[in-house]
Structures are given as structure tokens and as C-alpha cells.
């Protein structure tokens, strides 16, 4: 599903924020990515969701060598990845419903086909009564749940989440993790970057830790 071989990353002429990162995410796996702030977690996620090209090394996604893949192939690859951004990146002029439905719209589906699915998902994340609200009128936690719903609504092959429970209380956090687990059981490969030790300890998922830009494996392959 995802293969990194000796990947390095630096921004401009700055120091390398990722060094010789090598790992494989098997299809259907559930992995936590941990590390101190500034360790390079967000940069690693960016490389996976094709937000930036690596400075060196090889990245393979869904069998495509990204160094040789054509740019015209990128949109289809990106649509197979659901991303929960740390800063949510919701579109402020769209309602919660339209934000969540965006990946389905981009996939060319008609509103009549997905209306029920989106409403059900918004209800699942506890926002069934706020689906017409604009992001600016929602709390940080509510915005985060919309971002999560948007990332999972199209049932992506790979889900990447950057601190997805950072702004929600323990109850909602547990619910969201159950949502990720459910998605994982349906076949989605999940990679979650988090500081939340309780979350990490709650399952037997694999844990990869970044220390000064280098990857350390703390716990082996497993499933929630």
C-alpha cells in the first residue's frame, strides 16, 4: 500500500526534517505515528498524501513509484487517500454537509446518490443537527469531526489523520477511534499521527515513532 525507502526531506536549503525513513504500510493495517512536536510527523504525512515531493528516496503508493508516475495519475491516487488535516482545512463558505460531501462531488457522484450517506455519517459523528451550519459557527471539536467525516465519507483505501482527537473530549475521541477501527475492518489502511498515549495504548496497533527525523519502530504489525 505505502512503501518508503531511504526517504529524506528538507524544506529549501534548511536541515533535513526526515532522514533515511524506510517503512511499509501493509494493506489493511492500522498504525499510529508518534513523536515529539517538530519530529517530522506532519511532514511524513504530507509526503504520503502527495502534499510535497521528497528531497530524496523512493515512495511507492498503491504500486505506483511516485518518482516516475505521471502527473496525470496523481488525482486518481489522491482520491484513494482520505486526509484529516491538523488545521481541518474546511471550506468556510460551505455548510457542514457540503464540506463532508466534497470528496463525493469530486468523484463525480450526484447529490441524490450520497445525500443519505452524508447525513448518516454526520449523525454518527454527533453533528446530525448541525449539518447546515457553516464552519465558523462551529467549535474546534465540531470542525474536527467534520474534517474526519470528510476524510472517511468516500471510504478511501488509505486514511491519514493528523492529531484527529486533539480537540475533542474523551467520549467523542473514543467514538472517532471506533469509527476509524470500523473503517479499518472494512479494509481501509489507517495511519494516525497523535500524541495521545491513552489512544495508542487502547489497542494493539503498530506504533512508529519519529525521533529527530528518523523512524523508530516501537510495536509490530497488528490490528485493532
Amino acid at each position: 500500500m505505502v512503501r518508503f525507502e531511504n526517504v529524506g526531506m528538507r524544506y529549501g536549503a534548511g536541515p533535513e526534517v526526515l532522514r533515511d525513513v524506510t517503512f511499509v504500510l501493509e494493506s489493511g493495517s492500522f498504525t499510529f505515528l508518534t513523536g515529539l512536536s517538530g519530529a517530522g510527523k506532519t511532514t511524513l504525512l504530507k509526503l504520503i498524501y502527495l502534499g510535497e515531493p521528497p528531497s530524496r528516496g523512493l515512495i511507492t503508493l498503491f504500486g505506483h513509484d511516485m518518482a516516475t508516475a505521471k502527473r496525470s495519475e496523481f488525482p486518481a491516487i489522491r482520491r484513494r487517500i482520505g486526509v484529516v488535516f491538523q488545521d481541518f482545512r474546511l471550506l468556510p463558505h460551505l455548510s457542514a454537509f457540503d464540506n463532508v460531501a466534497l470528496p463525493l462531488k469530486l468523484a463525480g457522484r450526484h447529490e441524490g446518490d450520497y445525500e443519505h450517506d452524508v447525513e448518516e455519517l454526520l449523525s454518527w459523528v454527533g453533528l446530525g443537527d448541525r449539518m447546515h451550519a457553516r464552519p465558523a459557527t462551529l467549535s474546534g471539536g465540531e470542525q474536527q469531526r467534520i474534517a474526519i467525516a470528510r476524510a472517511v465519507v468516500a471510504r478511501p483505501d488509505l486514511l491519514i489523520a493528523d492529531e484527529p482527537t486533539g480537540n475533542v473530549d474523551a467520549e467523542i475521541g473514543g467514538r472517532l477511534i471506533r469509527l476509524f477501527g470500523e473503517l479499518n475492518r472494512l479494509g481501509t489502511t489507517v495511519l494516525i499521527a497523535t500524541h495521545d498515549r491513552a489512544l495508542i495504548e487502547s489497542g494493539r496497533a503498530r506504533e512508529m515513532r519519529l525521533v529527530d527525523g528518523r523512524l523508530v519502530e516501537l510495536r509490530g504489525v497488528g490490528r485493532t
Binding site: 498524501y49 502527495l50 502534499g51 510535497e52 515531493p53 496523481f74 488525482p75 486518481a76 491516487i77 489522491r78 482520491r79 484513494r80 487517500i81 486526509v83 482545512r89 471550506l91 468556510p92 463558505h93 460551505l94 455548510s95 454537509f97 457540503d98 466534497l102 470528496p103 462531488k105 469530486l106 447529490e111 445525500e115 447525513e119 449539518m131 447546515h132
Partner: protein, 297 residues
Amino acid sequence: MTRPSGRLVPREKGAAPLDLVIAVMAFLAALALGASLLAARTSEGWRAGLTDRLTVQILVPAHGDAPTIMARESDAVIAVLNRTQGIGHAAPLSDTEMQALVEPWLGKGSLVAELPLPRLIDASIVPGAAIDIDALAAQIKAVAPDAQLDDHSRWIARLATLADTILWSALGVLILIAIATAATVAFATRAGLEAQHDMVALLHQMGAHALFIARAFERHYALATLGASLAGASLAAILFALAGGLEFAGVEPVPFLPPIALKLSELAWLAAVPMAATVIAWLTARLSVLAVVREIY
């Protein structure tokens, strides 16, 4: 469950003043286009009105019985003109017509009646006929020593120069305003897109094809520009139509100045302004979005 569906591209803050600028530029462009059409029509009218006519002027003789001499020479000139091949019709201007000609300068009244005015003979030329003007002038001079033949060539040349100057000036102004309008539309579109850079990046990140993103934006900006430019061009069209209404109502135009009213067929040309502005906005939006997407990994 009915639910309002949001537009993918929002109406950004500050759009109203830009819409207003586009509307004003479209208004000016439509005025310039209308003025060019008027200049072209007037220029053509001047040429056509003079090239198919001849005028013979019989000056007041210095000695003798002027009215008798002028009447005799007038008859002789008309006889020559009627014999000449290519002359369709020749007739002297009546006193009333003569007074109407000088009225704009001298006004009405007894002063005009007392003035020794020359006699004018107006002759029309059969379209396409070739007349030897010098030979005709010699024939006329032979029968009427006080007559002068005027084929308007001097006037035609000067009027043609004037008409060309007016036409090219109007076209120059039109081109300048068209460039300014195009630049304004392109600037407004690019400024709007700058504000939407994050959204373009997000859609790109989510796997939207560059053309999908471009279509969302080009439709938005093309429609906004169409609305604004249509308002500006419509206002100009209304002004031209009102000018036509004034002429229709009998308000006399200023002598020798071109008309200010557009014909219906000419008014239709003003639609070119919003159409061109819309195409510019559409193209600018598409190229700008594609350029932004190309810059993103």
C-alpha cells in the same frame, strides 16, 4: 430532506467594487463602440451624399440685370446638364430651399430676402456613370460665363480625411478602452483567485482534476463578469436608444454634427462588449487556475 446546496466557489469579499469597475469599463467600451459605429455611418453618409451629386453655382453678375442674366444662364446650364450622359436629374434650388440653406447662419427675415444670393443647380449623377467633369465645366462656361461647376471633389477629399480621422480616432479610443476593460477583467479575476488560493490547493489535494477546478472558477468569474458587463453595456444602449427617441420626437440635431442615435442593427453590436468581457474572464480564470495548480506538487 431539502437542503440548500452551496456553490463551490464563494463570492469573495470585495467583489462588489470590482463588479462596479467592470460595469463602468463595459459602459465606456460600449459608448466607444457606439461612437465608432456612428463615425463609420456618418463617414459613409458624407461620402455617398456628395459623390453622386454635382452643383452648379451661378454667381450674381457684377453688371447688368442680375435676375434676368441669372435666369437665362440657369436655363442654359440645365439644358447642358440634361444633354449630358450620366446626369440623372438637374433642377435649380427654389428660393425657399436657398433660404433654408443659409438660415443656420443668417437666420430668417427680410435680410435674407434682400441679399444677392447666387443660384444653385443641383444635379444627380446616375450611379456608376463616368462624367468628364472638365469637358462639362467647359460646356457650362461657354453658355453661362457666371457659372461654376462644383463636383465636390475638394470637399469630398477633405470630408473623407475628416471622416477617416474621426473614424480612426473613435477606433483608437475603442481599442484603448477595450484593452483597459480586458485588463480590468483579467485583474479582477486574478485578484479573486489569489484570495481562493487555499481552496484551489485543497481541491487539488483532494484529487480534483485541474480542469474540474478550472471549470468551477471560470464559470463563477465568467458569470460575475457577464452580469457586470451586461449592466454597463445595457446602460450605454439605453442612452443611445434615448438619443434615438429624442430625434424621433423631433428634437433637431445640431447642424453638421453626426447623429447620436444608433440604429437597431448597430445597437445589437453593443452585445459584443459583455460577450468579449465574459470570454476574457473565462479565459483568465482558466489559465490562472491551471497555472496555480501547476505550481502545486
